[in-house]
């Protein structure tokens, strides 16, 4: 973090206040050492490891069908098998390879799109600001999942379109946050000074405005990771996610929900979603507590 820029200059410009908070400068315990954060990080670390080593750790091929259908959990199949005799443990492990990277992709793309548009709206102002903010209002007017369903249904259900749909429904929140951060610093002396020195808008945005406004958006992005996993699973549950026979948690829950007497078919992928979403949310909360000035005031 210290390699980002000259620390002196940072202090002089009041830049990157949020980064310093990670180091636990306040009276409370550092964010990374709070027990709940440690648990969340362990869970996420575990899932990342499973995703990376899925081929080694999964006992069976996640797509291999067998005659042993609807076998309840046993020594041979720890999480049981589904209607086609596929091993659920292997499918849950391989599911991590889809859900976690896709959630990261959704949030990163939404942050990129929302961030750029928010910067443009806040910095340029006037007509551009009006137009972009009305566009965000338009997207906000629909419930997220409904809009995502409409977009996926229109483009056709597959992984790429599900990600696109979720980016389309989730960028406005980043645009709003960044725009408000930019608005709060418009007219600041260092920006005026830069302009007087002949710095163009692109350079000003990149060097001065972006680093000062990205903090809250990063916090938001961490919080939204859990939401992205959940939305992707929801789309997939509705049959609008990655195509079968891909091992995706949402579609696995949907398969099991057809007959709840075979509880293991839906419970284990459901638990996978639960743990990942909870862990992302706890982590996001912890980061927000630490980094977002609005939540740390008065402590």
């Amino acid at each position: 973090m210290t390699t980002l820029a000259d620390p002196k200059a940072e202090r002089a410009l009041g830049r990157r206040r949020w980064l310093g908070r990670l180091r636990g400068g306040s009276a409370s315990r550092p964010v990374w050492r709070q027990p709940i954060t440690v648990v969340a990080l362990t869970i996420l670390g575990g899932w990342l490891l499973l995703a990376l080593l899925a081929d080694v750790l999964a006992p069976y091929d996640p797509l291999a069908q067998s005659a042993d259908t609807y076998a309840s959990p046993s020594g041979a199949h720890w999480f049981g098998t589904d209607s086609l005799g596929r091993d659920i443990l292997s499918r849950v492990i391989h599911g991590a390879r889809l859900s976690i990277p896709l959630a990261l992709a959704i949030v990163s793309l939404a942050l990129l799109v929302g961030g750029l548009l928010g910067l443009a709206a806040g910095y340029i102002g006037r007509f551009v600001d009006e137009a972009l903010m009305r566009l965000t209002d338009l997207v906000f007017a629909f419930p997220q999942i409904i809009l995502a369903m409409a977009v996926t249904a229109a483009f056709g259900p597959n992984t790429r379109n599900a990600v696109l749909a979720l980016v389309i429904v989730s960028w406005p929140v980043y645009a709003r946050v960044i725009r408000s951060a930019v608005l709060s610093m418009r007219g600041d002396d260092y920006l005026n000074a830069a302009r007087l020195l002949g710095v163009g808008p692109i350079r000003a945005l990149r060097r001065d405005v972006l680093p000062n406004s990205i903090g809250p958006a990063i916090v938001l992005a961490t919080l939204e990771l859990g939401n992205a996993v959940l939305l992707l699973a929801a789309l997939s549950f509705l049959g609008l996610g990655p195509r079968p026979p891909a091992a995706e948690w949402g579609s696995m829950v949907a398969l099991g929900a057809q007959d709840l007497s075979m509880w293991w078919v839906s419970v284990f992928p459901g638990l996978a979603i639960l743990t990942v979403v909870m862990a992302f949310n706890v982590l996001g909360d912890a980061l927000r507590d630490r980094l977002d000035p609005r939540y740390t005031k008065g402590r």
């Binding site: 609807y70 249904a153 259900p157 026979p245 057809q258 007959d259 007497s261």
Partner: protein, 534 residues
């Protein structure tokens, strides 16, 4: 946070009130009242597919169950036998040798629920109305002319020979309405009835028939209540009240597990039957087939239009394994006619798997690792997730070296694409709207509407298949038609674009105290008036 005792008391009493209310609400429902086994109410749980109870417009499963109980038809089917219609309002009928004219003699002394007599005029009015309002079921009578020769004789004539007219006239949509009352509420039977008829709203909430039951209340989202018709001419039903309740299939299963008496469920089928209490009785017939269609148009797919590929895919599929996915009451695919109907292929002619042959056929055709997009509607049909079946087909095909790319689609998109004839390979269930299997010839023989959606023109078809189809339509006796249908299907299985995977049953689940709770493939699922107690 502290809670004051008063607030606690208020909360507790609110909870208690809620509990009392829910208990009383439960006992007001169907099953609670039947717990002692002496109640007069029969409860039928089903996931509603219900748009109207107007006989001229009814086309959906739940509506057909109700309309069959509210109205009478000239002929009908008893129990689960759909091979031969039996007398109902008509005590007898005569068919002309050319199967173009059918003369029905009406039963004497039949009255409508309001006491007025049922005459030939009512029959002519009702059938003409069905034909002329051009609702969904009108297609079954579109070529018919109905006249009366006297007050108790009706003649139904067809421009082309049609030995199935008695079957058509057993369908609930051909129900006879009290024409006087119906006309008073806007019913019309003239050529312009499609515009002039305004009776649907009235007929949705009132029955004007002569059937064993009367319509007491109609709420298409929650329940339909029928009460016994005190003036019914036939055997009085044992239950004085029938409640059709809208219920999703999982809840139906839970409800039936706890039901003690006089309760029926219509949608528990397939794997959902596993784990059901052994004291419950089930009745079902295999009336649905599930088939793949391969496009025979080389312009759409050079792979699926190749006959060798067609035959290789047939040999690659594990029909037994697919039938197992459907659970109890399913069978490996044989022909396009489901086993419930006359003309089905006999047991022992099910398709069989031969992976080695599939591979040899592919090699012979010079096809290495052919890849095909495989579309299907992402729905659950009669308790079976079509995606699961499609995934199994994909796995089976892969073993023979065929790569299928699954393409699940929303139902409307799937239907649009299928109608457009652009799907190289698709998968769909098929149930007959009325129990006449040779109607398949009019749709699926080469050059017919459905066949053309798969690019199957007469020129691309084996002339033997065309000739066999022609023979079916030219045979005028029903038994001869059934035999001709079997021959047609054997030829279809050799070269048609249709590949039948499995046939599956619809199931009626009933409590142990009931009799006559038989599933029928005639359209109305179960004859509630025939259900009694042991």
């Amino acid at each position: 946070m502290s809670v004051s005792p008063r607030r606690l008391l208020a909360g507790a009493s609110a909870l208690a009130t809620l509990a009392v209310l829910s208990v009383s609400a439960c006992s007001a429902g169907g099953s609670g009242g039947n717990a002692n086994g002496t109640a007069k109410t029969l409860t039928v749980n089903t996931s509603f597919v219900l748009k109207t109870l107007d006989p001229g417009r009814v086309y959906e499963a739940t509506g057909l169950t109700a309309v069959h109980a509210l109205y009478d038809t000239l002929l009908t089917f008893r129990g689960s036998d759909v091979s031969k219609p039996v007398p109902a309002l008509a005590e007898s009928y005569q068919a002309s040798p050319d199967a173009k004219t059918f003369t029905f003699k009406l039963r004497q002394g039949v009255t409508f629920a309001d006491g007025s007599p049922l005459t030939a005029d009512d029959v002519v009015f009702s059938l003409n109305r069905l034909k002329n309002i051009k609702g969904s079921p009108a297609v079954t009578v579109s070529g018919l002319t109905v006249t009366k020769t006297d007050d108790s004789t009706v003649v139904v004539a067809s421009a082309t020979p049609d030995p199935n007219i008695p079957v058509v006239l057993s369908m609930p949509s051909t129900a006879v309405l009290n024409s006087k009352v119906a006309k008073e509420h806007g019913a019309r039977d003239g050529a312009d009835a499609a515009q002039g008829d305004t009776a649907q709203q009235y007929l949705d909430t009132n029955s004007v028939g002569s059937g064993p039951y009367l319509l007491k209340s109609y709420d298409p989202s929650s329940q339909v209540v029928l009460e016994a018709n005190p003036k019914y001419w036939g055997t009085k039903p044992q239950f004085s009240r029938v409640v059709l309740r809208n219920m999703d299939v999982q809840t139906q299963k839970l409800t039936m597990q706890r039901a003690e008496a006089a309760e029926i469920s219509l949608d528990i089928s397939g794997k959902l039957l596993d784990g059901l209490s052994g004291s419950l009785q089930t009745s079902g017939v295999q009336d649905t087939v599930y088939f793949l269609f391969l496009n025979a148009d080389p312009g759409v797919s050079a792979v699926t239009s190749n006959l060798k590929f067609n035959q290789a895919l047939r040999a690659a599929i594990d029909y037994q394994g697919i039938a197992a996915l459907y659970g109890k009451g399913a069978a490996p695919g044989a022909g396009l006619v489901a086993p419930a109907f006359p003309g089905a292929l006999p047991a022992g002619e099910e398709s069989k798997r031969d992976v080695a042959r599939a591979k040899a056929l592919l090699t012979g055709a010079g096809l290495t690792n052919p890849t095909v997009k495989f579309s299907y509607p992402a729905i659950t049909y009669k308790g079976v997730d079509l995606g699961t079946v499609a995934t199994k087909v994909q796995g089976d095909a892969a073993e023979a070296g065929i790569k299928l790319e699954l393409n699940p689609q929303p139902l409307t998109t799937f239907l649009d694409e299928m109608r457009g004839g652009k799907s190289p390979l698709g998968f769909t269930p098929q149930s007959l709207n009325y129990p006449v299997a040779d109607s398949l010839i009019n749709n699926m023989a080469p050059g017919q509407a459905t066949a053309l959606r798969s690019g199957w023109t007469v020129e691309r078809a084996d002339p033997a298949v065309v000739a066999a189809g022609k023979k079916v339509t030219e045979t005028l006796d029903l038994a001869g038609r059934a035999t001709a249908m079997q021959e047609w299907q054997r030829l279809m299985n050799a070269s048609s674009p249709y590949l039948v995977l499995a046939s599956n049953s619809s199931i009626v689940v009933a409590t142990a105290d009931l009799t006559g709770a038989d599933y029928t493939a005639a359209g109305w699922q179960v004859d509630v008036a025939a259900v009694g107690r042991k």
